[in-house]
């Protein structure tokens, strides 16, 4: 049974029908605005008539601004009805008997503020990039990808079913990888993009599998069949085993996008793209996408203490790893990447501990602060000189830290661990990638010899039967 979550007596004086229609329109606007700019900027470029720089920036910016405004308006409407979630049914992809794949969005106390925040941030970065990328050959491409990202972000945030969420999630992944490889004439950039994309794809398996299980369990991907109530106090509607299984898979999916150990190796390398995209992706929005998905499905986690325990462990582990490794990074962007990773780890731990509101605030705060820091990173020398002038000397190296307690030999050892980025990548390479690779190679060899054998016997027969 689909629980009815919206009723007239819960609203503050506005008729339910009106608010429903309003929310529907506004939510669609949030989604369509960036998508429309994507078409407006992308299509002319596709046919070889790119809009000018000014128009491109303006157009994409207007899309984000509209999304932001629509988000704010939705927020007001929601306030009138005590943030009771509004499910917007856009259509059904297919339905077979009791099973249906529907296209649903949800506007509630989590998704709508998040849309405001992400659209607003995108708008700011868009304005920044308009000047920053002036005369860059890939100007239009950048803004097209930014629009893809914005559309995907809003789709993911507003998703009311795991299917829609997955679609948005994939938009995010592809735009992120393509922006890391923005300077595709450089080998490093392409490699870093490929690495990020591979990590994403591996972890996407988690989300996909979760979707399949959800469909299997409740006959549709809709969140309202999984949990009900007002965020953050919704109740889980599925048995704990399903909840645990889905939660674990979601955690796995989230780890990749949010750069959690042991999938964090791509993050420092991702700093190959232009500075504004680094800021919005790895300082602000993309890095928190995993955390958002977990917040979205929090009721499932509630019913899955095992997943929560795992989440706390991963989060704390990542935070410690990132702080240690970050402390030896000598280039600004890697240093900031690890700083982001630290906070993302803490946010994971907070979610695991059930501190949802704190986690949400932490995400927003951290995203804003970090994107400013990344955007400003080319100013490091300027800022440093100012700071030195103010202090009348060099700033010290941050005072006491844990490492000072260790004997010198262990310090050296620990430094090396940090410099090698905690051996994380090699451990994954040796433990997972290499065995899988070898297995695939064996399969490949087997197939080749089989094909060869087949080919031989065929040609033998052919020759015998030939003229």
């Amino acid at each position: 049974m689909i629980p009815l979550i919206c009723s007239v007596n819960q609203t503050r004086g506005l008729p339910a029908g009106l608010t429903q229609d309003l929310v529907l329109m506004l939510v669609v606007a949030q989604l369509l605005a960036p998508a429309a700019t994507l078409a407006a900027v992308g299509l002319p470029a596709l046919f070889g008539f790119p809009l000018g720089e000014r128009r491109t920036t303006w157009c994409v910016g207007a899309g984000f601004a509209t999304g932001f405004a629509a988000g704010l308006a939705t927020l007001v409407v929601l306030w009138f009805r005590n943030f009771v979630p509004e499910v917007v049914h856009l259509g059904t992809w297919f339905a077979v008997g009791h099973h249906a794949a529907t296209i649903e969005l949800v506007a509630d106390g989590l998704s709508v503020p998040y849309v405001c925040f992400s659209s607003g941030l995108c708008a700011v970065v868009n304005a920044f990039a308009g000047k920053y990328l002036h005369r860059e050959p890939g100007f239009t491409r950048f803004f097209v990808l930014l629009a893809v990202f914005g559309t995907g972000m809003n789709l993911m945030v507003l998703a009311g079913s795991i299917d829609v969420l997955f679609a948005g999630w994939e938009f995010l992944g592809i735009s992120s990888a393509l922006l890391i490889g923005f300077f595709h004439e450089r080998q490093n950039a392409v490699k870093a993009a490929l690495r990020a994309f591979t990590t994403y794809r591996i972890c996407d398996v988690g989300l996909l599998a979760a979707g399949v299980i959800v469909h299997q369990a409740v006959g549709s991907g809709d969140f309202e069949r999984l949990f009900s109530g007002t965020w953050p106090h919704a109740q889980c509607l599925v048995p704990p085993t399903t909840a645990t299984l889905v939660s674990l898979l979601l955690v796995f999916a989230a780890m990749g996008k949010s750069g959690q150990v042991p999938f964090s190796g791509w993050l420092p390398r991702a700093m190959e793209g232009p500075t504004p995209s680094s800021a919005i992706f790895y300082g602000a929005l993309s890095i928190h996408a995993g955390a958002y998905v977990l917040l979205r499905c929090e009721p499932l986690l509630d019913a899955a203490p095992l997943a929560r325990l795992l989440l706390v462990m991963i989060g704390v582990g990542t935070a410690i790893h990132a702080v240690l490794v970050g402390s030896v990074q000598s280039d600004l962007k890697a240093m900031l990447a690890y700083a982001s990773m630290t906070q993302a780890g803490l946010i994971f731990a907070e979610i695991g501990l059930g501190l949802r509101t704190l986690a949400l605030i932490h995400i927003v705060s951290h995203a804003i602060l970090r994107s400013l820091q990344i955007l400003r990173s080319p100013s490091a020398l300027h800022d440093r000189h100012e700071l030195e002038a103010a202090l009348g000397g060099h700033p010290g190296s941050g005072g006491w830290s844990f490492k000072d307690m260790l004997p010198e030999k262990f310090q050296r050892l620990l430094y090396r661990v940090a410099l090698e980025r905690g051996f994380e990548e090699m451990a994954v390479m040796r433990g997972v990638v290499d065995p899988v690779w070898r297995g695939l190679e064996r399969l490949d060899a087997a197939e080749r010899s089989w094909v060869e054998w087949l080919g031989k016997s065929w040609s033998w027969r052919h020759r015998r039967g030939g003229p």
Binding site: E53, V124, F128, A129, K131, Y132, L133, F182, F183, R186, N188, P268, M271, G273, T275, P276, A319, G326, S327, V328, S330, D331, L332, K333, M335, Y338, A339, Q343, H362, S365, H366, I368, L369, L372, Q373, L375, R376, S377, P378, S379, A380, L381, H385, E386, L387, E388, A389, A390, L391, S397, G398, Q411, R412, L413, Y415, R416, F423, M426, A427, R430
Partner: protein
């Protein structure tokens, strides 16, 4: 003993190879220098080709670029003919193809028209697939060419195999690149070792040197390391405590480099990451220029590490090639497989001959009539005229046109303006020679036609370490080749010191807070709390900075004023105690030194007599945000610092009555009524800052105020002129809007082009301003004031050339090469730049240190060698050059172009390979406009000289 000899040899080889490393130091003091400094001993044209081989870069612009310039008339036919004739000399008229055409005709045709050089496969494809109407394969000419080529002898080329095993591997199987494995680790350890304070945890053991530090970190192998470096701990442990030179020798042996190729191996290995190697070298050479931690970096350590890494990686990769033995055998094996390159195949040759024949009008019959020798000669002539040669000649033609346009402008101006128009009534303003000061001087003269301007190297003859009141340490303010011997401190006026103490403490607390926040956001617990609780506050600066950059910066600036400046300060210029400071310099100058400085400068610029009542000394600097290359926009003559303090110091010295009386006793008088004032011009925001205004006596206040107004007005006009270069600013921008636009650029986080720095510089004119005044030189000319009348023995000219020669040519060549190859010589686009170690920038997360200028700075540059125009007789120039061998070498090897402008007759002679030859103007016409703005309005590109009427007093214009 043998070992010692060998080590010595290796040491020398390293020294020789080190001259090819980029000389750029830590980026916070960016000094524009000749990027090909190591090649200055060779003549320019040969040097750029040599350098291109060494670095794998481009010697000239792409041929297509020159052809574009040819198409739009920037290069003309006459230029091509002239440079070709000069280059060929007597062989120009050598007959080819049985006398049907001369060598010159052939080459000229090839210069004018692009001829595609294709390989056999492409030509075959073209022949079979392309179906144009007069199908080439069926034409008579094509058949004739095929036959003719078959009879001629082909030219075969051989390529030397590379020496580094990695290069050899790469050439044979491009998928195997050991650098791909070794470089990330080498970059990481170099960056951590040289770090000046990005990492909160500095590398332990840095005092042991780069090699020592890495050994102590890595000799104990543990953890799942990357596959290639499994052998690294053992290799490093074996190097422990040994002389790096012996380590290098051992690695060379293990790598199996054949004897005799040692030197090349060392060179290639150092150049494989030349940015980092150069930075290590810089730390070794100039520890005084290292910002914070002058760690004992040495190039030998770097090379030892490089070779150890290479060897370990090669040993790891050898089995993958089915090779288990030692690397020496691998090397030989690889070399044998190294593909030699043969000449073009017969189809390609025929295609080439066919194209050329069509171009020069040879018929099939003509081709058929050539015998084997004739045909071979024709083919050799075509083949010898390769891409590099064509580009070289196109480049010379490109420079020639620039030279003619400029010299014609100078000659025409001399014929239009009667001499003796020097105003002596108004203010005299002394600027830097910087080509950006050309426009501000011109606008000042237009605003106030009574004003007279001068140009001199922007440290105003005051080489000093300067410790400003807001600085925590002193910085050198003088050309990079000079090491100052004096330190000058800025102190608060005695009645303001209390005030100062308070401000300073507020500032320190604010600084500590800001630093704490920035650091804290990276830590675990503090960072978590900080970001979660206060992070959202960052939305305010984020939105404000992006949406309203100019207003935000004004606001921040106001806030800053509470803690900085505002109080009256003075320079502690005079030395009271002769004991040297801890750094070996003297605290200030004594009266005789000051007198010498004042006298030298005034003599240099030709102002021994006729000083006005008010003399302004104006330095320059540049402020921009989010710009790692900020220092590149500052004053080159101040070694990448700002010239304001030098101007102030000079004015203070010249105002000192004791200095004046000291000068008077030596027969050099400064009139009592003359007052010197100092200012600084911000070349980015076009703002003027005036120093120590209370020093102006009441009698001069009115003139001073009027001069300040003129400066501001000139600043607005200058902003308007600069805006024409910015694509994003509409051409019809109003002057006040233009000023706001440049102010916003200086304060905008998102702006990667705060200004264009020295881009477009092309000329250096040494002579009296009276001869260039009113001439629109488009911010492309360094203007050095020099009075030939007062310098019979060329002593002053020698002094001037010694100071401005290296500075101007260094700037010019830095821009030139960064523009010619923005990725090879320049630092590429700024967008992915990542500051590392506070010493430089990388592309993305792990690349070589990017030296040179970014593309955004040089994109509007026109790469031509600096043309020195010196107002002196050729004899005097030659006399001066013999005293300045460094500049004489630049001239002799043609790294700069030189023209002499006769002070008496206005005749111009240009230095060529056969000595000076007279410049015959092509045209005597010079556009005349009222004001500069009338000439540049609506134009984005470079402009020819024009005469500006407003710079002259109306009554006296001819």
């Amino acid at each position: 003993m043998d070992d010692e000899i060998r080590n010595g040899r290796i040491g020398q080889a390293i020294e020789r190879a080190a001259r090819f490393l980029p000389s750029q130091g830590p980026i916070d003091i960016f000094v524009a220098q000749n990027i090909l400094q190591g090649f200055e001993d060779e003549p320019f044209e040969a040097a750029v080709v040599h350098a291109a081989q060494v670095y794998g870069t481009q010697p000239f612009l792409a041929e297509a670029r020159y052809r574009e310039e040819f198409a739009r008339g920037r290069i003309r036919d006459a230029d091509l003919e002239a440079v070709l004739a000069a280059d060929l000399g007597p062989s120009a008229h050598e007959p080819l193809a049985g006398g049907r055409l001369s060598l010159q005709e052939l080459l000229l045709a090839l210069l004018r028209n692009p001829v595609e050089k294709e390989d056999d496969v492409t030509v075959r494809w073209t022949l079979s697939e392309a179906d144009d109407e007069n199908h080439l394969a069926t034409t008579e000419l094509w058949l004739a060419c095929v036959e003719a080529v078959a009879s001629a002898r082909p030219a075969v080329l051989h390529r030397q195999p590379p020496v580094r095993i990695r290069d050899l591997l790469q050439a044979i199987s491009p998928a195997l690149d050991t650098d791909e494995h070794t470089n990330p680790l080498l970059i990481r350890v170099c960056s951590s070792y040289l770090d000046q304070g990005v990492a909160t945890w500095p590398m332990p053991g840095r005092e042991k040197g780069l090699l020592g530090a890495v050994i102590s970190l890595y000799e104990a192998g543990f953890g799942p390391t990357e596959p290639w470096n499994v052998g690294l701990p053992a290799a490093l442990a074996a190097a422990r405590g040994r002389n790096p030179l012996s380590v290098i020798a051992q690695q060379i042996d293990l790598l199996g480099t054949p004897p005799g190729m040692e030197e090349e191996l060392i060179e290639r290995s150092l150049l494989s990451l030349r940015g980092w190697a150069g930075m290590v070298r810089h730390f070794e050479d100039r520890p005084d220029r290292v910002p914070v931690a002058a760690v004992p970096a040495r190039l030998v350590d770097f090379l030892a590490l490089r070779l150890i890494f290479d060897r370990v990686a090669a040993e790891w990769i050898a089995p993958k090639l089915g090779h288990g033995g030692e690397l020496a055998r691998l090397w030989t094996e690889l070399r044998d497989r190294y593909p030699p390159r043969y000449g073009a195949g017969s189809v390609a040759r025929a295609f080439m001959v066919c194209q050329v024949a069509r171009l020069v009008g040879l018929s099939a019959a003509d081709i058929r009539s050539l015998d084997e020798n004739e045909m071979t000669r024709l083919e050799r002539a075509i083949g010898g005229f390769d891409g590099i040669t064509r580009r070289r000649l196109l480049h010379l033609a490109y420079e020639r046109r620039h030279e003619i346009e400029l010299l014609d402008g100078l000659a025409a101006r001399a014929s239009l303006v009667e001499p003796g128009l020097i105003p002596r009534s108004g203010v005299q303003a002394i600027f830097c020679i910087d080509e950006r000061c050309e426009s501000i001087r011109r606008h000042l003269e237009e605003t106030d036609p009574a004003c007279e301007t001068f140009g001199t190297a922007g440290f105003f003859g005051v080489p000093m370490y300067f410790h400003g009141i807001d600085d925590w340490h002193s910085i050198p303010l003088c050309p990079i080749v000079v090491r100052p011997r004096h330190t000058v401190i800025e102190v608060p006026e005695s009645n303001a010191s209390m005030h100062q103490a308070l401000r300073r403490s507020v500032r320190r607390h604010l600084g500590r807070l800001k630093g704490g926040l920035a650091d804290g956001s990276r830590t675990l617990i503090r960072g978590g709390l900080l970001t979660a609780v206060f992070g959202a506050i960052a939305a305010v600066p984020l939105v404000a900075r992006v949406a309203f950059p100019r207003l935000t910066s004004l606001l921040f600036h106001r806030a800053d004023q509470f803690t900085k400046r505002r109080i009256r300060t003075r320079l502690e210029l005079e030395r009271t105690d002769d004991t040297p400071l801890p750094d070996g310099t003297l605290a200030g100058f004594d009266v005789s030194e000051m007198a010498a400085i004042v006298r030298t400068l005034l003599e240099d610029i030709g102002l021994e007599k006729g000083l006005a009542r008010l003399v302004a000394v104006i330095g320059h600097g540049s402020t921009s945000l989010n710009n790692p290359h900020e220092s590149a926009y500052d004053c080159g003559a101040c070694g990448g610092g700002r010239g304001g303090p030098n101007a102030w110091a000079f004015a203070t010295m010249a105002n000192d009555p004791r200095v004046r009386s000291h000068l008077g006793r030596n027969g050099f008088s400064i009139p009592e009524e003359t007052v010197f004032v100092a200012a600084m011009h911000d070349t980015c925001s076009d703002a003027f800052t005036f120093y120590d205004e209370t020093a102006v006596p009441a009698t001069h206040r009115q003139e001073y105020a009027a001069f300040q107004r003129s400066c501001r007005e000139a600043g607005v006009a200058d902003a308007k002129e600069r805006c024409r270069r910015f694509d994003a600013v509409p051409l019809d921008v109003r002057p006040e809007q233009a000023l706001r636009q440049v102010e916003a650029r200086a304060a905008d986080l998102a702006q990667v082009r705060p200004e264009y720095g020295h881009a477009t510089n092309a000329v250096c004119i040494v002579g009296r301003r009276a001869r260039t005044r009113g001439l629109f030189l488009d911010r492309r000319a360094f203007l050095v004031s020099y009075d030939p009348d007062a310098d019979a023995d060329a002593a002053i000219l020698a002094r001037i050339l010694a100071a401005v020669g290296p500075v101007c040519s260094g700037i010019n060549l830095a821009y030139m090469f960064s523009c010619i190859d923005p990725r090879g010589y320049g630092s590429g686009t700024k967008l992915p730049h990542n500051i590392t170690g506070l010493i430089g920038v990388m592309d993305g997360h792990a690349s070589d240190l990017r030296t040179g200028l970014p593309w955004q700075t040089v994109e509007i540059h026109e790469p031509v060698r600096l043309l020195f125009v010196i107002e002196a007789s050729t004899a005097r120039i030659e006399a001066a050059l013999t005293r300045v061998p460094a500049v004489a070498r630049l001239v002799a090897n043609e790294w700069v172009r030189l023209a002499a402008w006769d002070p008496a007759t206005d005749a111009i002679v240009v230095l060529g390979r056969e000595g000076f030859r007279p410049h015959k103007p092509e045209s005597w016409s010079l556009p005349v406009v009222d004001r500069s703005v009338d000439w540049f309005a609506g134009q984005r590109g470079n402009l020819r000289p024009a005469l500006i009427r407003a710079a002259f007093d109306e009554r006296r214009t001819g």
